[in-house]
Subunit: 344 residues, 2 copies
């Protein structure tokens, strides 16, 4: 198992400098008084001996790690990493490290991640819940008063959440299509009991325009599996005028289906991503540069509250998305997701 040379500790440095471990500790950290002379001597010796600070010992002693644990639900979702980037940068500024885990949209893995975070003594946890199956753990986290925040989804109503208002996004998208006289708008949304909001906005738009809602056109699919075949079948058997894809993954699959079947329906996709922009697709843009601010503020407030105790009801902070209209949602155009003809 790899011959690992025992690494040098403050004890070794203490011996080499003829001082106590306490002095070395003080010299190396910023805490406590050490004469400038010794501080320099000790620091040089540490460098010379190839000293590596041992976090585990510090965390064990202090009982906290100065770390925020973040669970990303889908490693393939670029959008999550865009937000993650901002979170890392911001928490860094506040003196916190970020520990990242991936749940792969799987509750069991989420459970392991949460347990692992607790075992690592993280100071706070941010996660995108897959289900509400880990309630026992969530309650344990709350009991320990570890600040907890749900991101993008609120599976546990008594835990704070920062969510994009997808209902509003669906409303904007549906309205935009209905106003073009497109009657049969297919909504592809995610099968998550605790986020029915997309369909709400869909319905709201219909109601506002006094149009009947055909509930058959609201399709819920699970995350993490291909919907191409089901989608293909649905379009063929139903009289669909336009499509709203509730996630960019769905969007990408719909586009593939359309290309393969040589059909062209107006399309709006959730999430403003680079490739969608490039394809001239109308999107519902999540405000990437706002989300992290709410998250960081929520967590830092809890962390700085000397007497923080987990509240019994969670607040839901909603960030409003924006509809970015491009050509893909235009009724009159015929779209093709390829590049073999010029448009000049």
């Amino acid at each position: 198992m790899v011959v690992k040379r025992k690494s040098t500790s403050i004890k070794d440095i203490a011996k080499a400098c003829n001082v106590s471990v306490a002095t070395v500790s003080r010299a190396l950290s910023k805490r406590g008084y050490v004469s400038e002379e010794k501080r320099v001597e000790i620091r040089n010796m540490a460098k010379k001996m190839g000293y590596i600070f041992n976090y585990n010992a510090q965390i064990l002693q202090r009982g906290k790690s100065n770390t925020i644990g973040i669970i990303i639900a889908d490693i393939e979702n670029h959008f999550y990493h865009l937000v993650l980037k901002n979170l890392i940068i911001d928490f860094e500024k506040h003196g916190y490290k970020v520990l990242i885990a991936y749940s792969f949209e799987n509750s069991d893995i989420e459970r392991e991640n949460l347990t692992s975070f607790l075992s690592s003594k993280v100071d706070a946890i941010i996660f995108t819940p897959i289900s509400n199956k880990n309630e026992d753990l969530i309650k344990l986290i709350n009991k320990q008063n570890v600040p907890l925040l749900q991101l993008f989804r609120q599976a546990y109503p008594y835990v704070d959440a920062v969510c994009v208002d997808d209902g509003h996004g669906a409303y904007l998208a549906t309205k935009h299509l209905l106003e073009q006289e497109l009657k049969n708008v297919l909504l592809l949304t995610v099968k998550l009991d605790f986020t029915p909001s997309r369909s709400k906005g869909y319905i709201q738009a219909h109601e506002e325009l006094d149009l009947p809602v055909n509930k058959e056109l609201i399709c819920r699919y699970p995350l993490g599996v291909s919907i191409k075949d089901e989608c293909r079948h649905f379009i063929k058997t139903h009289n669909v005028d336009a499509i709203i894809a509730g996630t960019n993954t769905f969007g990408s699959e719909v586009m593939e289906v359309m290309r393969e079947e040589k059909i062209n329906l107006p399309l709006i996709v959730f999430d403003e991503l680079n490739w969608l922009k490039m394809l001239n697709v109308t999107t519902i843009a999540q405000p990437i540069d706002l989300i992290h601010k709410d998250v960081v503020e929520n967590i830092m407030t809890k962390l700085n509250d000397k007497s923080y105790v987990t509240p019994t009801i969670g607040q839901n902070i909603r960030v409003k998305p924006v509809l970015i209209v491009r050509k893909s949602s235009n009724k009159k155009r015929k779209n093709s997701y390829s590049i073999d003809k010029t448009h000049n």
Copy 2:
């Protein structure tokens, strides 16, 4: 700072069950013998008391963490996360956790990440080097016999590396364009002293076809900054027939430039990503489902070698990319990166 209830330890459980801490430790881990009866009693008590295992104590005691540290150079590069996903899954199978850090293509942050990994007592480190500025740390890591591997780039020649053979990719791309009688092929490549390979393949293809190389057409740009304006200017002032974008970021920027300037040049982009496929762009595909195998094998071999000592020369494992020909590299077609005309 958040009132955190002191969490229960094995000591508390020992007291509650009237046994010693050693017995609790044995009951909770798989190591050592405990009577079935006590094992069950202790486990139930642990659950009842909301016991959370403390990693830091274990790592401190054992001196190793069963963790592989991985540094991702660019959080926005989707390709890295595709590989990361495979790595996480594979290492998990081997019983190792993965600790992730991002260097944001910055050597100083890389240095912090490496130090942090060492402080966390990771068992091995995989990273995509930004520069060779952290040589002192790399040497320290080697001295500690912590298995180390460079991924995608080899900045330190004496450290093992798994790289995609970009030279070969550039060769394939250049050849493909030259064979279509496109003479002035612009190569946009990265400004990294330790990876001159793309230009080598570019030159090789010219030589094989007995064509002169115009070195002006090999442009090196730094990572992490927009090249749009420079690229725009270059195309306007030079007589460019076709473009090879050395990274997908460059590719995306080139496409934007072409769209904005309404010009259409044959294009080949490095990295096989979903949106490039959707845009019908010819790509140099990195073999995503092969890379991680070499990485995991390299690391696991070192980890399992009971008497592993860092070698003094590094081997460079090269994974060959493949050219996936689509419409964007076709001389005759006029391309447009939008969707406002059908192609049926």
